[in-house]
């Protein structure tokens, strides 16, 4: 069991509490997109390109349409006439994206036509009968090749494969490099993996003719989804209703199925019947456009002989695949933690986003921070190795100290609070570090490869998407709000609602707990709902580890307003000033004379029914919508690219023990401990759960998972037989020890934690493997560290088998 959070000043927050949502899931009563069944519903299957790059000359659907049970075959040409293209977040007017390929198929698996039939099976039968005439073109599959002038250009109208390129310089980089006694340069490679939830993306669309309203149920986790969907379908915003009470079977960033939804919406409107599109696993892996960062980091670091790191140069080349999506912006978010948890005075950061003929990326948990943390921690280890210094000691020298907070990094973000040294110490203690060292040395003495990995990483949280205006000055978005609607009904029951779907983060429990805390009412009595896009207040969905801060903050704000209102009603009725009132669990008493009191029910009754007892000017009823902007947000970047990225910074210190089988290259993780500081923890089980899951995901990225392509752009790991997700055998027992440095910026001191574990685990596992290899003089800075890669490395070493 993880150590409980030590915040005993709260009544409900930070205490053990069952997650409300779990009740329906353990009963098998969740309501996922594939569970939605409407009368007359039709099903979609996709026709996908077998070529990495090809001109589409013709599509013949005659045989497909002749199959009984088939209702329509939609081509890219026809669809493009009826919708607006999806634009990227960058200023790229010539890079357009359509749900079905238009003119050119740009990657293997790209959807070229959609078949609608009475069942999924028949739709698949028909899809096989659609004849597409392709003219295959030379494709580019390697990101460095894609930069060369002679490379095939994935978006010919755009003229090159470069979607974005900018070099930021913050601080006296050249001077710091010149003055440093030591410099190192190396390359780190983060190959393509992704979150790959067990539920694929699915959407149900129904066009209600009578109401002229498109109803949508989707497995969605995406900001501004209803708006973008409406815009693409050329519908007014209030002609689309997205139902947020659909359970999402995991997302961790990637479920942004805009193309699926546009397609389903268009088909539903065209056919006048409900349409359901559920990706099967093969469609999902190739054509779902949900792959993840694929980065080459060229790192340079300048440091002194004492191990103090003075400056960093980072060149990050990211291969986004064939379409822009959200991926280029994933190079921008890490700007907010570009030096990690370290006191590094200057940074040069060159971010390059390129297209290749591969499946597009989507937003992945951490939005680029996990690969960046891997690059930073690898750099720190390289410095330690070079100097022959202990890796922990080196980190201690460079970690920002507690007394230095709030601390502003060269790229303009201020870290709100932290005590990195204390968390590191806790992690080492929880790991029994001294024992681990003995264990490792004993294993080494027996001729085995054993290592301990340490990683210190930040989890920026709060989701201020300042990377949008940073990477695209034409986009002046500085609002990144969240809202909560709260009401108390005539019976005194509390109802709260959010304007987003959830994918397992426990937002209903979050709302109930926070509101219960402020109103001093039992969270079990509070109903938390997911509303729909027409009735909800504004939301930007659970991304960027933001909901504890933003939804929690909005809920707290609403509850505080409600409490103020109740006190005002009481003061008016007791003939005193509000300051004379003491609020106790929803009832109120006169501080000076506790015999004078009003109960919750009485206050509710006055608000709803007794206008004659209401303070003059007060609206009747008890209903509040509170909208909250990101703390510290609301500003545009400076010309040199400085901006406050996310507001709150959680911190994690991982300690991992691993052994490598020197014959087979298999890695076994023997012990895993992590110190985690995300400020006040609202629900320990939920936060710990996401951290365990994030670490499991990170282990996958470090050792097992890769979207592997051949030189022709064919995806080789397109099913679960070849894309290897860690099972209960590959994920060790994990010990979490909590620490709390509250954020000064949030309602209860909470920071985000949705991306916890994943942001540090790949770095930690890499560090452990490198420590195990170190006695052989070997190192590796490329993920995943697969069995094949490690065995090859070991075999090639002096004394190896080659």
């Amino acid at each position: 069991m993880a150590e409980p959070a030590g915040n005993l000043q709260f009544r409900y927050i930070a205490r053990k509490r069952r997650t409300k949502e779990d009740r329906r899931f353990v009963a098998g009563a969740g309501r996922f997109a594939a569970d939605i069944d409407l009368p007359g519903m039709l099903h979609v299957a996709l026709v996908a390109s077998p070529h990495a790059f090809a001109r589409i000359h013709s599509i013949d659907a005659k045989s497909a349409l002749a199959l009984p049970g088939v209702f329509a075959v939609l081509t890219g040409d026809e669809l493009a006439r009826g919708i607006e293209p999806v634009m990227s977040g960058l200023d790229l007017p010539k890079v357009k994206r359509y749900p079905l390929a238009l003119g050119l198929a740009r990657y293997v698996g790209e959807w070229v036509a959609a078949v609608v039939a009475e069942s999924r099976a028949v739709a698949e039968d028909a899809a096989e009968l659609v004849e597409v005439e392709y003219e295959s073109l030379p494709a580019v599959v390697d990101p460095e090749e894609a930069l060369k002038p002679e490379a095939p250009v994935v978006h010919p109208d755009h003229g090159s494969n470069v979607l974005y390129r900018r070099k930021f310089v913050w601080g006296p980089v050249e001077q710091d490099f010149a003055e440093s006694s030591h410099k190192l340069a190396f390359r780190a490679r983060w190959h393509r993996s992704s979150t790959v939830p067990i539920e694929t993306f699915g959407v149900v669309a129904n066009w209600n003719h009578a109401a002229q309203l498109l109803e949508i149920w989707a497995s969605i986790q995406m900001p501004k989804y209803p708006d973008q969907l409406a815009r693409a379908l050329r519908l007014p915003g209030n002609a689309v209703r997205v139902h947020f009470d659909v359970d999402v079977g995991g997302s961790y960033g990637v479920k942004r199925g805009l193309k699926h939804s546009i397609l389903a919406g268009y088909l539903a409107k065209m056919l006048g019947r409900p349409v359901r599109l559920i990706e099967d696993r093969l469609e999902n892996m190739r054509g779902g456009d949900a792959q993840g960062p694929d980065r080459i980091f060229d790192m340079q670091v300048a440091f002194d002989r004492g191990g103090v790191i003075r400056s960093l140069k980072i060149r990050a080349l990211d291969d986004v695949g064939a379409h822009a999506g959200r991926a280029p912006l994933q190079l921008g978010k890490p700007v907010g933690a570009i030096v990690g948890p370290y006191r590094i005075g200057s940074v040069e950061y060159e971010a390059i986003s390129v297209t290749t003929n591969k499946t597009p990326q989507e937003a992945v948990r951490g939005f680029g921070q996990a690969p960046t943390n891997f690059a930073i921690e690898t750099t720190v280890d390289c410095v330690a190795r070079h100097l022959g210094m202990d890796r922990i000691e080196l980190r201690r020298r460079n970690l920002i100290r507690r007394e230095e907070f709030p601390y502003t990094i060269p790229s303009g973000s201020t870290y709100d609070s932290g005590d990195y040294h204390a968390v590191l110490d806790k992690a080492l203690k929880a790991a029994d570090y001294e024992d681990l060292v003995m264990l490792r040395d004993k294993a080494r003495a027996a001729g085995n490869l054993a290592g301990i990995g340490i990683a210190c990483c930040l989890e920026p949280s709060g989701g201020n998407a300042a990377f949008e205006p940073l990477f695209n000055p034409k986009n002046e978005t500085t609002t990144w709000m969240e809202s909560c609607s709260l009401k108390v009904d005539l019976n005194g029951a509390v109802i709260a609602s959010m304007g987003t779907s959830s994918a397992g983060q426990g937002h209903e429990t979050l709302l109930a707990t926070v509101i219960g805390e402020v109103l001093e009412r039992d969270p079990d009595t509070i109903r938390a709902l997911h509303s729909d896009s027409l009735t909800a207040g504004p939301s930007n969905s659970p991304v960027g580890s933001r909901m504890a801060i933003m939804l929690g903050g909005a809920a707290a704000g609403a509850a505080k307003k409600l409490k103020v209102q109740l006190i005002a009603i009481a003061a008016h009725n007791l003939g005193v000033a509000p300051e004379d009132i003491e609020y106790r669990g929803g009832d109120v008493v006169l501080r000076a004379d506790p015999g004078k009191r009003l109960s919750w029910d009485q206050l509710v009754d006055i608000a709803h029914r007794k206008f004659h007892l209401l303070p003059p000017g007060m609206e009747p009823g008890l209903q509040i919508t509170h909208v909250m902007e990101v703390p510290g947000g609301g500003a545009l970047p400076s010309p040199d690219g400085r901006v406050q990225m996310y507001p709150c910074y959680a911190f994690e210190a991982h300690v991992v023990y691993a052994e490598i089988d020197r014959v087979t290259g298999q890695v076994r993780i023997g012990k895993y401990a992590v110190g985690h500081d995300c400020g006040t923890i609202i629900n320990p089980d939920i936060v710990h759960g996401m951290t365990y899951g994030g670490i499991a995901h990170g282990i996958g990225a470090a050792l097992y998972e890769r979207f592997a392509y051949d030189e022709n752009g064919q995806l080789l790991s397109g099913s679960f037989m070849d894309y290897l997700i860690p099972s209960s055998h590959e994920v060790p027992d994990i010990v979490i020890v909590d620490h709390c440095t509250p954020s000064p910026l949030t309602a209860f001191g909470q920071k985000g934690s949705g991306e916890a574990g994943y942001l540090g685990a790949p770095a930690a596992v890499s560090c452990a493997v490198n420590d195990a290899l170190a006695p052989l003089g070997l190192s590796i800075a490329s993920l995943p560290m697969s069995v094949a890669v490690l065995e090859e490395l070991l075999a090639a070493a002096p004394g190896g088998k080659r």
Partner: protein
Amino acid sequence: MKAVDFDYARAASIDETCRLLAGAKGEVKIIAGGQTLVPLLAMRLTRPALLVDINGIASLQGVETRDGAVSIRACTRQADALAHAEIRARLPLLAKALGFVGHAQTRNRGTVGGSLANADPSAEIGLACLALDCQIVARKDGGERVIPIGGFFLGPMTTALKPEECLTEIRLSPWRERGRIGTGFKEISIRRSDFALVAVSCQLVLGEDGVCRRLSLALGGVGPAPFRADEAAKRLTGTRLESRDIENAVASLQETIEPQSDLHVSADYRRRVTGALAARAIAEAHGEAMAGGA
């Protein structure tokens, strides 16, 4: 991922199965456990006109000892074979190998015969059967034949079974040598329940004097089919299985194998690890025998 449409027949007997196989107008596939067949159907990599379900045939279920040989009916579930007292007692290498097959859920459906008929070059059951000199009984409309396992695996996913034949039974003879039996089974897979990249099965008998009286070694995943390393086995028979003996024997393996590359590991990987893996399997068998036998 829905299969193509097909006709389905639930066969009530082996005879009926053979008649259906013989009389088929399009491609016929037998479905037993379905753990390998159904994914292929779902991915439309196989498109039979008729599926013949043999799961309900009583005479294809069960394990019995007859004339000193253990007979395993083809549709015996891998889970049942793994738990079966006769197999554990008389065919310890097969029992050990079964523990490596897939996962508990797949073993609840997958069958012994199905695995053999599928002929994956790294499949554990085939490897154990090869090391133990198994006989495979195949029946067709018109007769039955016995195929020694040495001639059964012809290539990747290819066996000597004709399209109209149904594998009905396998027969294995427990070793009769006096002494202590030890078994070793080692495989390398990426995750615990994944397909083996390379696998080695070994059974041996140690005499009272610690000398190896008999040894059988089979390798999987290092060629188009699993095969017996008889040369290496010969080198070890009559020795005390010291490190030197084992190293000498496994060194010879390198020349006999023809591994392939795939997405996960290269041919060179397989070539490099085989010797050490075989040594580990032999050592495990040796250790077991020394400790008093399986």
